[in-house]
Symmetry: D2
Subunit: 359 residues, 4 copies
C-alpha cells in the first residue's frame, strides 16, 4: 500500500479526498496536514466547531482511525514521510507549498496554482493521458524528484469529457455554453448564504468564466515537445449558480468542422473511452459517458452519482438550428467527484501505475 498524505484535510475538498480514499486498494491515508490553527490537534478535534457541532460535511461517516490521526502543520510538513501528497489547499497556499513538496514527492493538486504553467498538464482521466509525459519536462526544468499534477476546474470536467469524442471525430469550431452549477462548488467557509440561494438563481460566479473559456483548449490540446499546443476553438460561457447541492449541468452548443448528426455524435460518445476504462483503475467508471434518450435527463439529483460520480451523463443531443454543422446537448458531471477529489484520485492512480510505474 502506498502512503498518502492529505494536505488541506479540514476543508471540504480534503474531506471529499478522504472519503474517496476509504478502502482504496492501493493507497492508504497515513498523514493529514492543514493550517497552523489545526496543527497539533487530532483530526476529530480540528473539525470541532465552537458551537459543539462537527465540521465534517460529508454524509459518509468519518472512520475512527482517520478521526484519530494527528493533524500536522502544512507549512512544515515533511513530504518524504509519504509516497504521494494529495493537496487540497487553496491556490495562494498551493503556490508556496506545493513546490516544496514536489522537490521530493509527487503532488496531486486540486488547486489552480500551477494549471497554467507551460510545463504542467491538466490531466483529466481518459481525455489527455498522453500529456502526462509533460511531467518529465516539469521535473527536469525544476529539478524536482516529485511533480505537481493539478486537476481541472470543476465546471469543465463534464464539458471536456463530452467534447473529446466530438473533437476526435468531427473537429470543433466553436463552443457556446451556459452552466447551471451546484452550490458545493462554492465551498463551505462560509460558502453560499441560504438566504441568497433559496428560490433563486445567481447568474455569476467570480472568476469562473475566464477559466471555463481557456482550460478546455489546453486539456484538449496536443503535446508538442515540451509544451502543449492548445486546441484552437473559442468558447463563450455564462456561468450561473442554481440551488442544487452537487452536479454541474452544462448546456452546450457546439459547431463542428465536419458534418455531424445527433446519431453520429451519440455513437461517438457511447463508444468513447473504452481503452481507458479497460485499464481498470480503481476510481474509473465503467463508462466515461452515458447517453440518455429520456428528454428530461440528465438531472443533477438523479444522475450525478452514475459510475460512482465519475460518469458524465449526456442528454438532449439534437441539431442546432443555426449552423450546418451544429449540435447541442446537455451534460452533467459530479463537481466534487469527477470534478474534484475523486477525479484527482483517478489521475493519481493513472500516474502511479503508468507514469511512475510503481505498481
Amino acid at each position: 500500500m502506498l502512503k498518502i498524505a492529505i494536505v488541506g484535510a479540514t476543508g471540504i475538498v480534503g474531506q471529499q479526498a478522504i472519503v474517496s480514499l476509504l478502502n482504496h486498494p492501493w493507497f492508504k491515508i497515513t498523514k493529514l496536514a492543514a493550517s497552523e490553527r489545526s496543527a497539533g490537534k487530532s483530526y476529530r478535534e480540528a473539525l470541532k466547531d465552537s458551537n459543539g457541532s462537527s465540521r465534517w460535511w460529508c454524509t459518509e461517516e468519518l472512520p475512527d482511525e482517520i478521526a484519530a490521526l494527528p493533524v500536522e502543520d502544512a507549512a512544515n510538513f515533511d513530504p518524504t514521510s509519504v509516497d504521494i501528497i494529495f493537496s487540497t489547499i487553496d491556490a495562494s497556499a498551493a503556490k508556496v507549498l506545493e513546490p516544496k513538496y514536489a522537490l521530493t514527492t509527487p503532488v496531486i493538486s486540486t488547486a489552480s496554482a500551477f494549471r497554467y504553467e507551460s510545463d504542467t498538464p491538466i490531466l483529466v482521466g481518459g481525455i489527455n493521458m498522453e500529456q502526462a509525459q509533460l511531467l518529465a519536462s516539469q521535473q527536469q526544468n525544476r529539478g524536482w524528484k516529485g511533480f505537481i499534477a493539478p486537476k481541472s476546474n470543476c465546471t469543465i470536467a463534464g464539458l471536456v469529457v463530452s467534447l473529446k469524442p466530438i473533437l476526435d471525430k468531427f473537429g470543433v469550431k466553436q463552443v457556446v455554453m451556459t452552466s447551471l452549477q451546484a452550490m458545493s462548488g462554492a465551498g463551505r467557509t462560509p460558502g453560499l448564504s441560504a438566504m441568497d440561494m433559496m428560490e433563486n438563481v445567481v447568474p455569476y460566479i467570480s472568476g469562473e468564466e475566464p477559466k471555463v473559456e481557456t482550460e478546455p483548449q489546453k486539456i484538449l490540446g496536443t503535446l508538442a515537445g515540451e509544451s502543449i499546443q492548445p486546441a484552437t476553438f473559442p468558447i463563450s460561457a455564462t456561468c450561473t449558480r442554481v440551488p442544487v447541492l452537487d452536479g454541474h449541468l452544462v448546456c452546450a452548443f457546439v459547431q463542428t468542422e465536419k458534418p455531424c448528426s445527433p446519431e453520429t455524435v451519440k455513437e461517438a460518445m457511447v463508444n468513447f473511452g473504452k481503452d481507458f476504462s479497460a485499464l481498470g483503475l480503481p476510481s474509473s467508471p465503467l463508462h466515461l459517458i452515458e447517453v440518455t434518450d429520456d428528454p428530461f435527463r440528465p438531472q443533477p439529483r438523479l444522475d450525478r452519482e452514475r459510475g460512482g460520480g465519475m460518469t458524465v451523463t449526456v442528454g438532449r443531443i439534437r441539431k442546432d438550428p443555426i449552423y450546418e454543422n451544429g449540435i447541442k446537448y446537455v451534460c452533467l458531471a459530479h463537481n466534487t467527484k469527477l470534478g474534484a477529489a475523486k477525479g484527482a484520485l483517478q489521475t493519481a492512480e493513472y500516474l502511479v501505475k503508468y507514469y511512475l510505474k510503481w505498481l
Copy 2:
C-alpha cells in the same frame, strides 16, 4: 369603466388576470367564465378543493365581490355581455371558443392558438405596437367585429424586449440562449412535482424550444401589407426548469450586424422604450428595461417585481469572445406578469386606447 369578462377564470393565469385587474382605472371585471364543471357555482365555490382548501393560488387576497360572482359556462358565454374578453383558456379550447367570441367582441388571449396565423400579430408592449394594424386585416378577413390578440410565449418576453434596442441600433445576426425558467410557467393542474424539482434542475420543457426559436422573429418583424415579414436572424435555444417560483432568466449570446460594445448596448437599452412609457398606460412600467451593473444580478427572487413585474432587468452585459460583433448578457422577466396576464392586460390597454379608440 369598460366591462371585462375573464374566461378561464379558475386557472392560474385567470387568477393572475383577476389580480392584475383589481383597482384598474379603466376596466371592471363583470363576468367570469370557466369550464362546465365550474359553471353555475359562485367563483369562491368553484375554487373549493375536495379537501377543504381553496385553489386560489395568488398571494393577493381574493376580494369578496369577485368571489361572489357566478361562474358561467365558457362554451355558452355571451360575448356581447361585456366590452372585452380576457381569455386564459388552453390552446385547444381557445381554438374553438375565441373565434366565437371575436365575432362580436375583442379578445385578449394568453393562449397560443392564434399566434402563428398570418393575419394575427403577437403584440408585446413597447416592441411592435405598429403590428396592431394587422388586426384590421384579421377583422376583415374573418368578418369579425371583434378580434383576437394573443400574447407571446412567456419565455421570450424578456428576450424580445432586450433584443429590440439591439436590433434597432446594431442589427441582429444570430442568438444563442439558455433559459432558466420558473416553475409557475408549468401551471398548477397539476404542475410540477415537488419531488422532481427539489434540489434539482430539469433540462427540458415540452414544446418550448420550437416556440422560443420562432416567435421572436415574428414579434420583431416588420409589417408588410397584410402580413408580417419576420426578422431573419436564427435563434438556438435550450430551455431548462429551475426551482424558482417566478421569473424566467435568459442567458443570451447575441451576434450583431454592426459593431457594438457593452457600453453602447447598455446605452441603447437604457434609452429604450421612453415613447411607450410616456403613453402612461396603467400597467406599463416607468422603464421597459433596467440595466444593472451589479455582476450578481439580475436574480429571479430579487428582481422579478421591478416595475410591478413589467420591467425587464438586464445584467452582465459583456463582450462575447467568439465574435467580432458579439455581446452576451443575462435578462430576467416576470413570466406570470410581463410574460402572461399583466402583459396581456397592457396590450388590452393599448388597443382600447389607440386601436379601438374607446378612451
Copy 3:
C-alpha cells in the same frame, strides 16, 4: 431462494420494495402485479410516461431483469405462484385483494387496510416481535393458510422505536409530538405540488394525526390471548409537511411514570435492541437507535441513511421543564425505508425465519 411477488409494483412504494429486494440473500422477485392498466406490459413499458420519460422514481438503477418482467393484473393474480406476496397497493384495493391472496399465501402489506383489525398485529422490527403470534389467531379465525402482516404508519416508525426503551424502563404517561414530514410520504401520483412546497411549510396532512395518535399504543401494547391490550398513554400530535425529500423528524415531549434523566434515557436507548440486531436479519441495522450528542442533529438529509435507512437517530435528549418526570428529544426515521418498504421487508424476514420457520 423464496419467490416474491410485488403487487402494486408500478407505484413508488412498490418501486422502493423492488430496490430493497435487489441482491437479497433469501428472496427473489419472480412476479410483478399492478392495476389492469399496466397488466400485459413489460415492467419497463408499464413505467413509460406519455411524454417519453420513465416513471421509475428511485435513484438506484432499474435492473434489466426486473424491467423485463411482465406485469400481471393484481385482480387476477395467482397467489400460489409465489412463496410471499409483498403488497404495496392502496388501502381500498388492499381491503379486497389481500384477503384473496392470504387464503393461500403470506402477505406483507404496506397498506393500512388491516392495521386496526383485532387479530392483526402491526409489526415493527425489534419492537413487538412477540405479537407475531397473533397471526396464528388471524389464520385460524379467517381460515387462511397465509396471513396479512401490515406495516405501521410511516410517521410513527421513529417514534415507537425511540419510545420502546423508555416505556420498558420508565413507563410512559403521555406523549406530545410535532412531526416535520418529508414529501416522499405523499407519494407520486401526483404527490405534492412544487409550487406549494417551495420555501414553505404545510401544517396539515390529511388523515395523519388520528393514525399517529392511536397506532403506537397498539404496537407498544401487550399480547393478551387472541388480541392486543394497547398501551394506555395518550398521544397528541401535530403533523406538518416540510420541503425535505426523505426522512420524518419528530419533536417528542414525553412524560414518564418513573423518574428519568437525559443520561438514563440515553443509556436505555443506546442499549436497546441488541437481541434483535443479533438475529442478523438481512435488512436489520447494527443499531436500532443511534443517539447523537451534536445539538444540531439529527438532520433529515444527513442522518436518514444511517444503518441503511433502518436506524432511528435520536438527538437533543433533555429535561422537560414542565414535568417532574419529563423528557424531550428529536428523532428521525427514514420514512420510505424503515417507515415503509424496507421496514416491511425486515418484518418479512423475521416472519419467514421465526414464525413460518422456512429457513
Copy 4:
C-alpha cells in the same frame, strides 16, 4: 415629523427598520449610525461588498435620499440630535451603548440586552400596553430622560399574541410548542449556509429555547408596582430551523384553566385586539389575529404578509386529546416584521402617542 436615527443601520434588522419607516406619517429618518468600519461613508458606500455587489438585502429598493445619508459611528453618536433612536445593534454592543443614548433620548431596541431587567417591559403591540408604565420606574431608577424599550424575541411574537385571548378568557395552565423557524431569523453575517439548509431541517437554534420558555410569561404578566409579576404557566419548547425565508410557524399545545373548545377559542381570538386596532397606529394591522378554517393554513409563504406582516394567522384550532381543557393550534407570525423591526416601530408609535404624549 419626529426625527429618528437608526443605529445598526447596515445590518439586516437595521435595513428592515429603514424599510418599515419609508413614507411613515410621523417619523423621518434623519441619521444613520453603525460600527466604526462604516462610519464616515455614505450609506450606499457602507453597504458595498468587496466583490462589487450591494449588501442591501431587502427586496424594496433603497431610496436615494437614504442611500446618500452619511453613516456615523454608533460609539460616538449624539443622541440629542434626534427625537427617537431605533437601535438594531447586537446585544453586547446594546448593553454599552443603549444606556448612553437613553440618558437623553428614548431608545426602541430590537436587542435582548435589557429584556430581562426588572424595570424594563417587553412591549408587544396590543398585548401588554399597560406595562409601558414601567418605563417611568426605569427612567426614575436610572436617572434617564429617555428610556430603553426592547422588543420581544421574534419566535414568541405569534405565540404571545395568540395566547393572550386564551389567557384572558380561559386561563393558561401550560404550553408545549414546537417552532418551525424561518432562516431570516439567523441574520446575514454570515447567516445560515445554503448547503446546510437545502432539503433539510436543523432541529436546534442556539440560545433560543430558554428565551422562548421564559419571555412570554413576563410579557403576559401583570404590572405590580415597580415590577412585573410574570404569568405562572410553564412552557416547554423545541425550536427548529426550516428552509423558509420569512415567517415563524409555531405548533402550540395549550392546557387551559377553564373549559374551552375550538369554537370558543376561535371566538376569543377573532374578537381580540379591537381596542388596540382602533387606536389606528400607522403600523398596526386591522386585525391582530386572523383565524383561518382552511386546514392547510397558515403557511409561511402564503400568510406571512397578512396585515402588512403584522397580523398573526392562526389555524387548525382543535381539541387536544390528552387534556380535558386542552386545545392545540398552529400560528404564524412574520419574524422580521411583527417579530422585529416593524413590531418595534409599532411600539415606538404607541409610546410616542400614549406614553410620551408627543402627538
